[in-house]
Assembly symmetry: C2
Homo-oligomer: 301 residues x 2
Amino acid sequence: MLLQVLGTAAGGGIPQWNCACPGCSGARAHCSRRRRHASLAVRTDEGRWYLVNATPDIGDQIEAHPVLHPGPGPRRTPVAGVVLTDAELDHTLGIWRLREARGLEILATPPVRRALDERLRLSEALTPYTDLTWRELECRGARPLDPAGPASGLRISAVPVSGKRPRYAAGAPAHEAWVVALRLYDPAAGTCALYAPAVAEWSEELHRAAAEADCVIVDGTFWDDEEPRRTGISTRTATGMGHLPVDGPRGTAAVLATLSARCLYTHLNNTNPLVDPAAPQHKRLARLGVEVADDGMVIEL
Amino acid sequence: MLLQVLGTAAGGGIPQWNCACPGCSGARAHCSRRRRHASLAVRTDEGRWYLVNATPDIGDQIEAHPVLHPGPGPRRTPVAGVVLTDAELDHTLGIWRLREARGLEILATPPVRRALDERLRLSEALTPYTDLTWRELECRGARPLDPAGPASGLRISAVPVSGKRPRYAAGAPAHEAWVVALRLYDPAAGTCALYAPAVAEWSEELHRAAAEADCVIVDGTFWDDEEPRRTGISTRTATGMGHLPVDGPRGTAAVLATLSARCLYTHLNNTNPLVDPAAPQHKRLARLGVEVADDGMVIEL
């Protein structure tokens, strides 16, 4: 299994266009600290990739990685489709950018698809431009990620991790699968990856999936639960915003330290001290054997 | 008057994520040939700017220009608002990216606002994130561009240039102001700029506005009328797609050559030979005294 990390930042990216906090200012001063919106490309066959989430950065994420470049035909692209972990604008706006494709597959859970179609009119708006094909991203039962790929190819299933709706769909009905983690299984290699850029609760089901995985890439939005209140970006705690913090009694770092998988944090908010490479928090994680994912990282399992 | 050119490419940018045509491949091989989606920033006061169109590149366009960076307060931004020349996705998707702002003003003609609100649900989707304020962009009668700017500040009016609707709003009612050129007038300096990234017809009214301007930045999407058919990107001609070509009997180059204004082309498509700096077409334009705008160019009038 081949995973290409395309971005590792939470909503807004780092730096965020209207933010002069230390994390964003640091990224303006040192371009190596820039992080694009959290995203991943997953190879399903030679020259065929699915994107996990379609961020507003999608055009530049594709340009930054030659394996995703088009060719040799003038309009042939290795981007076969998009898998959505939720319906947040920062994970879906990029779909509109892909409308120049001949066709595009989107895998999403039912509430995510409904939010995009009913609240943002995605299918209606894009049908005049391209052929959209929706496929249901199913919780629990693993299915082939790429129907056109090899029979022995990657299989995907979802694990519900939060019932949090995007703000633009606040009035939509409750559903367990508003936010999911993705479980990618490679039958040929016998390896498994878990991608969970937003985790509101560390459920038993999620723990089982993490315990079985060889690689876990997980929500590192906030370092601690008070960070959003302390930095003034919200009146809620991290957990209240749908993101388990890294550190502290409800934090994920202690749990990840017990897993045998390679564990990496992604989806870092600009307020997270981890965005500064000199922050002492990096040593804390290193001692636990946990990493921070970087834009451009390649993971082979 | 101070204008900052943020981008100079037609829809998709150069390179476009799924395109391996010579123009896009050339831009992948030579990063100086990259062009972001056509956009402009207009200064209305010290540290206060309006963006002309909100492209999908908007985050990176802001990052690329320190005058648009936030600060000194943690969430203070010099970006005061957005003026739309039409409702095309490539000129409007960036609005969703600006939702982290405390508030945002959008100037648009009535059909453009209706398309965004009724077809794409813009206001409904973004109201939970920020305070959107719509102002009507009026044809003919010049009004202050920035109500919070100095009384002697820039004035703006629009000139209808096309009734072409975006594909996602194909069924919407006809209106003369689906696509407009912007006329910016600086009473303090007595100078005038005309920005027209899409021109379907060179009307008498547009010609009058161009003749009065000190600087004209105009639709250079296609070099000649047959280009879209010859390159296989469309079954229609340039004119049929709502863009007067640069060259030929219906082309704009000959008209621009008669004007006293400084004239520049923008909104170049990836099929346009002008995207190659070695193309002989550059000499043709130079002989006519007409320029091709570049990303990052500053124009002071």
